[in-house]
């Protein structure tokens, strides 16, 4: 087996990958913007000069979408690492503890029943209704599962996993019921929401998600060393002086904030939270101080690459992002599994 790469090499490599993905995403798209036009747009930023169509397309549509992709990928990659570290289970994924399905169920209820249940709600919250409801739904389910998994002063991870699976099944049934209730139009909105897309990137939403993900990433930094201790087992971690309960609580909240904010804006983007941390661990080893930031960088790069394909492959039409993250991510992941099977 080839040697593990140093922390610096892994972080530098994933940062380079992300930069490459950003550049690739910036220069490709259905609307042709040449490199010189892009240069022109970037150099005249903030000068209030005459705005060409390239200006408007790049600044209003492509740039917010790129940033949303970075925030979403970073949030999902980081949250996936936290979950896998917390559960000491390589299968863990933010979807597993019900954050995504809680958000999806709340979004579904809003899309299908929103108009009849709370007719005044869309008027007061406007286009934020869906985002806030989805975020709230993700958070509620996370808290519910966290509550269910507490016993005798501790949080039992096996209970949490089972509760998460049960709640996921319930949310799936709820969505199935909603799809029967839905009109044709609502069904389409629901379906596209479940497949994920960065197409709804507005500056206001992008900044909100970016702020939430950034805050979550900063908070996650202090979790890296305790998670390394927890990897040895909870009892050992406690012996090493780690307040295991506090770490679990913080990790769950950080994950819920990051994934809730991302999912609320983009719909469900699958596999990034599962694949990115594994990929990093295969080349860098299990140290969370490296895996956490590198997974965030790699997750962002993966989402951007998938979205670039989503935007261009069928232009002027668009492919659902969730389909592409699976199509691109899973074969890569399987190859990595084979190549580095000794390190899982």
């Amino acid at each position: 087996m080839s040697q593990r790469f140093s922390a610096r090499a892994v972080l530098g490599g994933s940062a380079l990958l992300l930069v490459a993905a950003i550049v690739l995403g910036a220069v490709s798209g259905a609307y042709a913007i040449s490199l010189s036009q892009l240069w022109n747009v970037l150099t005249t930023l903030g000068q209030g000069a005459d705005k060409s169509p390239e200006h408007l397309v790049f600044l209003n549509i492509r740039l917010p979408r790129l940033l949303l992709g970075v925030a979403a990928g970073a949030g999902l990659g980081m949250a996936g690492t936290l979950m896998q570290g917390l559960f000491r289970n390589p299968l863990a994924d933010p979807g597993l503890v019900g954050i995504s399905s809680g958000a999806a169920l709340a979004a579904g209820v809003t899309i299908v029943l929103g108009a009849s249940l709370w007719p005044s709600l869309p008027r007061t919250l406007g286009s934020w209704t869906l985002v806030l409801m989805a975020f709230g739904g993700g958070l509620c389910v996370t808290l519910l599962i966290y509550g269910l998994s507490r016993s005798e002063g501790g949080t039992r991870m096996a209970l949490m996993l089972l509760a998460g699976i049960a709640v996921n099944a319930l949310a799936g049934a709820g969505l199935g019921f909603l799809s029967v209730m839905a009109t044709d139009e609502q069904l389409r909105s629901l379906q596209f929401w479940l497949l994920g897309s960065l197409g709804g990137a507005r500056w206001s939403a992008v900044l909100l998600v970016a702020a939430a993900v950034l805050a979550a990433c900063v908070a996650a930094r202090s979790l890296a060393a305790p998670l390394n201790a927890i990897a040895l087992g909870e009892a050992q971690a406690a012996l090493l002086g780690v307040d295991v309960e506090r770490i679990k609580r913080r990790a769950v909240v950080v994950t819920a904030v990051a994934v809730g904010a991302v999912t609320a804006t983009t719909g469900i983007i699958g596999f990034i939270g599962l694949i990115a941390p594994h990929w990093v661990r295969m080349v860098a080893g299990p140290d969370h101080r490296v895996v956490l930031p590198a997974s965030a960088l790699l997750g962002a790069a993966l989402v951007l690459c998938a979205d670039t394909v989503a935007r261009t492959a069928m232009a002027p039409a668009e492919l659902p992002l969730g389909v592409l993250t699976a199509f691109i991510g899973v074969p890569m992941f399987l190859w990595m599994l084979r190549r580095f099977r000794g390190r899982i």
Partner: protein
């Protein structure tokens, strides 16, 4: 801010065109404009709207359509912007249209907002399954394509056709048939309740929707279908083909209990023609009405 400014500029240009077309040159001079390369370029999102573009002779201005734009056949060859509810902002803008004409069933709305903010005019037509919907489609295309005189002519012609069809339906003295529309033929067939295009179409053609009490399309149990007692089953040609033909269709067990089964009363029409609410709607309704009458005779 800047998006809005650009939109104003476009408005001005179009207003100037409209003034020129309407007052100084008059309708007779409009063919001159057809050679003018500056005519506004259009993207249409909805099969019926695309049909209007072709009827107004504006197909040269058409730079893109959605996947529901299947008629006339030439519309299939235009660049496709995807399904009407999953549009892409950059995709739409890459075709560099001056205006996008869509119904309120199109989306996502964020994408339409983004397109607007890039300075492209977006015309949204409310799809309420009425004759007014057809009229609004004709007017909107006329406005956006700078062919308002032709649009008025077309609307007058269609209004006359529609009045004639409505008269014929109103003059019919026989019993109104109970009609069941089946959207798809999966294990539980999807049928149409109130507030659907199919519900409106059945009413216009002089029938009664065999199902009421719910809105939109729903999967229906076999027993409920039998108790709805339809005289006629209405469905799309595409739906019957996907189900494997008419003979396969009548083998469904729940149908054997309906009045429609005894006479094998099945009416099919092309989905876009039947539910599109476009310029071919008067012809579609006339055809349906005639078939309703024969089915009950």
């Amino acid at each position: 801010m800047n998006g809005r400014r650009a939109m104003h500029i476009r408005f001005h240009r179009r207003d100037v065109l409209r003034l020129l077309g309407a007052s100084s040159l008059g309708a007779a001079a409009l063919p001159l404009f057809a050679q003018e390369p500056k005519l506004p370029k259009l993207v249409t999102v909805s099969g019926a709207i695309t049909e209007v573009v072709y009827l107004l002779g504006a197909e040269g201005q058409l730079v893109g359509t959605d996947t529901t734009s299947l008629y006339p056949a030439a519309a299939r060859a235009t660049p496709k912007v995807g399904y009407m509810r999953q549009l892409s902002a950059e995709g739409l803008l890459s075709l560099k249209p001056d205006a996008i004409i869509a119904t309120n069933e199109s989306g996502p709305s964020v994408v339409l907002d983004q397109v607007r903010s890039a300075g492209v005019k977006v015309e949204i037509i409310e799809a309420d399954h009425s004759w007014g919907e057809v009229q609004r489609k004709v007017q909107a295309v006329g406005r956006a394509a700078a062919r308002e005189a032709q649009a008025r002519e077309l609307q007058a012609k269609l209004d006359a056709e529609w009045a004639q069809v409505q008269q014929r339906v109103a003059a019919f003295k026989g019993r109104k048939p109970r009609v069941l529309f089946v959207l798809s033929h999966s294990a539980s067939p999807q049928v149409s309740g109130e507030k659907t295009a199919a519900h409106a179409v059945i009413g216009f053609a002089g029938g009664i929707n065999a199902l009421g009490g719910f809105q939109g399309y729903r999967p229906m149990t076999a027993e409920a279908m039998a108790s709805a007692a339809p005289d006629i089953i209405l469905t799309s040609t595409q739906g019957i083909e996907a189900h494997g033909g008419v003979d396969r269709f009548w083998q469904r067990p729940e149908l054997a209990l309906t009045p429609a089964f005894r006479k094998r009363s099945l009416i099919t029409q092309d989905a876009l023609l039947l539910l599109g609410f476009g310029p071919r709607t008067p012809a579609s309704i006339a055809d349906l009405h005639e078939k309703f009458a024969t089915a009950l005779a």
